[in-house]
């Protein structure tokens, strides 16, 4: 990995001492994380470590109380922005459990999302033809059947189909910062490769990807620059991709013990 001097590559996402509680219970407790453009980060950790909380808080879900700390995105105070403003500024959350919205056309939501983003960027709305061409292109990449376009959002999709649909949305929206919350869970090995291809297609010097995952196997296909262990509401250890392999071999307990020591 190449390190650019901070002056020319300021952090895309900068989390400082973030403390978050849910219904009075502290879930994140002094979390620090810096992500720069061009990087792929993997956040790993045991169940209940706060991984999904981190994803949701960054995307702007309202059910969390921010007790302390700061988050800057592109130098802007992220936590003061409502969820839709974050999305329009290029932050994307790939959901662990994408919700079904019956009767709402998949392609309709996607077009509305893309135009909301373009409006923010000062670009004209895409017309129907351009849009369909773009989506068809991305669907090929995701090996999705055209019928998905006209089905309700995630309506009756299998678990794997829902995850593909998330990544399809991501490739169409081309976010600056993509946070993928356990996108690999529930995928068979072929689907995992397709999803990984989709994610890899997005990599670029201006973007960053944060993978939240339990398992090393996703990282065989999307190679991270940094691997972090999130446990007890904090990043307890950071390293390069070899850390993921070590976690795969040894589990998380040693990290917790090391941190306690």
């Amino acid at each position: 990995m190449t390190m650019t001097p901070p002056a020319s590559n300021p952090p895309l996402l900068d989390i400082r001492d973030l403390v978050v509680s849910v219904q009075g219970r502290k879930v994140l407790n002094g979390l620090n994380l810096t992500v720069r453009a061009g990087e792929v980060h993997a956040i790993m950790g045991p169940n209940g470590a706060g991984k999904s909380t981190l994803s949701n808080v960054l995307a702007g879900r309202a059910d969390y109380t921010i007790e302390g700390g700061q988050v800057h995105y592109h130098g802007e105070d992220l936590l003061s922005l409502p969820a839709e403003q974050r999305a329009r500024r290029g932050l994307f959350l790939g959901f662990q459990y994408p919700v079904e919205i019956p009767g709402v056309n998949n392609v309709y939501l996607l077009k509305a999302a893309l135009n909301a983003r373009r409006l923010q960027q000062g670009l004209p709305e895409v017309d129907a033809f351009e849009f369909l061409a773009l989506v068809r292109d991305k669907m090929k990449l995701m090996q999705m059947d055209e019928s998905f376009l006209h089905r309700g959002v995630n309506e009756g999709f299998s678990g794997g189909e829902k995850k593909r649909n998330e990544i399809l949305q991501m490739t169409v929206l081309e976010p600056t910062l993509a946070i993928l919350d356990e996108t690999d869970s529930g995928l068979d090995i072929d689907a995992l490769k397709v999803v990984a291809n989709g994610v890899n297609s997005l990599k670029g010097p201006d973007r960053a990807i944060v993978l939240v995952t339990h398992y090393q196997r996703l990282l065989d296909h999307i190679v991270p620059d940094h691997v972090h262990v999130l446990a007890a509401g904090r990043i307890l250890k950071s390293g390069d991709r070899h850390l993921a392999l070590e976690l795969e071999r040894r589990g998380y307990d040693w990290v917790l013990e090391e941190a306690a020591a």
Partner: protein, 482 residues
């Protein structure tokens, strides 16, 4: 910051957009109701004797009736003597012969409502019989319809020009004794629409009437009669908006549909009367009796309604399926926001053999509103092989509103097939957050989710009105999601 409950509340809190009053001289009868008022109405409208007699019969019967209170509705009592029963734009004798002669203020009113009469008429090929207060002031496309033999005119014109047809069919579907509000309407109705489609004729265009209550304290008592003769087809759209005011206004309409053998009537309603403000002050009381009879083999009557307005809605568009193989359908979206109360549904009465009915009802409640589906499926002993399918879905926004379902099923023939499905769901915080996280505003997100919920009803609306209905839904739910 971010997304949910308060934002939803504020979204649903939006003001009624159609609140304005047109300043036009009205010829209004003082409040109160007795036989003299009825005679006056009948006289002003130049009615034949049979109609006056019918009105008086209805009035005398009405005096013996009690206001019904079985519905899940709560409101301050209506003082029927405080209502003015007739209001007409002045100088009816100089009524405009064409749109060009119509008071520009009136046309401007339609423009504000998004109903540019002439444009809509020309572009969409829709004939509009515009009811403004109680007297029709503009009728278009009469000629083209006349060529097809179709009669589409204000009720009061039909009284003069087609008295025989009127006498044959008036009150045969909804008799003057039917219920409290129908009896009142029969006594005092002022205008409405009359449609006759001759044998074998497919009506060459959508027929559409825009209703609008305008004069303060004037009850509206519309009466519509549609007759589809054997093998004919007609699609009719009724749409309404009303201006903002504080006093409650009574609206008690009657609609009668007659479908003879192989005839097909599609009746669509977009109802947007003033619902009252966000504190429940004001709003229209809407007590409507709508019923259709399939009188011959293979006749079909389809009701589609999008009900977003009124403080009180009491309305059960029904089908009496007399003819063998006849079909009744009811597709409904009812939205209740703020302090609105809706008690609506349908009755499907199966009399003939192999009759079929479908009921799809989507109720949306927001704010402090109460939304009730009340439906009856009745299979009589003569209705061998009858079938009904009912689907009733309720969507709740926030935790202050209510959804209620009262399905009544009476089956008197063992061969009947009756299916009923019902769901109640809350507009998901998950669904909302999902849309927000894709960059949609909370308002757009809610509209999208609600439209998805209503899709199976919207697709029954005539194409050009589906979009309008969707917009109306969006306006109605602004400021109301929770």
């Amino acid at each position: 910051m971010a997304s949910t409950p308060q934002d939803l509340e504020s979204l649903v809190g939006q003001k009624y957009r159609h609140g304005f009053i047109t300043d036009i001289d009205a010829d209004t009868v003082p409040p109160g109701l007795d036989e003299d008022v009825i005679r006056l109405i009948s006289h002003k409208k130049g009615e034949p004797a049979f109609l006056l007699e019918w009105r008086l019969k209805a009035y005398r019967h009405w005096l013996t009736m009690k206001e019904p209170h079985w519905a899940h509705l709560h409101y301050t009592p209506i003082d029927y003597q405080a209502i003015s029963y007739y209001s007409a734009p002045k100088a009816r004798k100089d009524a405009p012969k064409s749109l060009a002669e119509v008071d520009p203020k009136l046309l401007a009113t339609y423009d504000k409502l998004g109903v540019p009469l002439h444009e809509r008429a020309r572009l969409a090929g829709v004939a509009v019989d515009a009811v403004f207060d109680s007297v029709s002031v503009a009728t278009t496309f009469k000629d083209r319809l006349a060529k097809a033999g179709v009669i589409f005119c204000p009720f009061s014109d039909a009284v003069r020009e087609h008295p025989a047809l009127l006498e044959q069919y008036l009150g045969t579907v909804v008799p003057h004794t039917d219920n409290f509000y129908a009896a009142l309407n029969s006594a005092v109705f002022t205008d409405g629409s009359f449609v006759y489609i001759p044998k074998g004729v497919r009506c060459p265009m959508e027929l559409s009437t825009y209703f609008r209550i305008n004069a303060a304290n004037t009850g509206q008592f519309e009466r519509t009669l549609i007759i589809a003769d054997e093998g004919s087809h007609v699609s009719y759209l009724e749409g309404c908006t009303a201006p903002m005011r504080d006093e409650n206004q009574l609206h008690a309409a009657v609609v009668e549909l007659v479908a003879l053998a192989d005839a097909n009537i599609k009746y669509s309603t977009v109802q947007n009367w003033y619902p009252g403000d966000e504190n429940g002050v004001g709003g229209i009381y809407n007590f409507v009796t709508k019923r259709g009879e399939c009188r011959g083999r293979n006749a079909r009557i389809s009701w589609t309604q999008v009900e977003t307005g009124s403080a009180i809605t009491w309305k059960y568009p029904s089908c009496v399926l007399l003819g063998e193989n006849s079909v009744g359908e009811f597709y409904s979206v009812a939205v209740a926001n703020h302090f609105q109360q809706a008690d609506t549904g349908t009755k499907m009465i199966h009399v003939g053999r192999n009759t079929k009915s479908t009921i799809i009802s989507k109720g949306i409640s927001a704010g402090h509103a109460q939304n009730t589906y009340r439906g009856l499926v009745k299979i009589l002993p003569s209705a061998e092989g009858a079938r009904n399918y009912t689907q009733c879905d309720s969507l709740l926004m926030g935790d202050q509103c209510g959804a209620h379902t009262f399905p009544y099923v009476e089956i008197k023939h063992p061969s009947a097939t009756v299916e009923h499905e019902a769901t109640t769901s809350k507009i998901g915080e998950d669904q909302l957050f999902y849309c927000l996280s894709r960059g949609l505003s909370a308002e757009d997100a809610v509209n999208m989710i609600v439209s998805g919920f209503c899709k199976s009803v919207f697709k029954e609306l005539p194409m050009e009105f589906a979009v309008e209905a969707q917009n109306l839904l969006a306006v109605s739910l602004e400021g109301s999601v929770g």
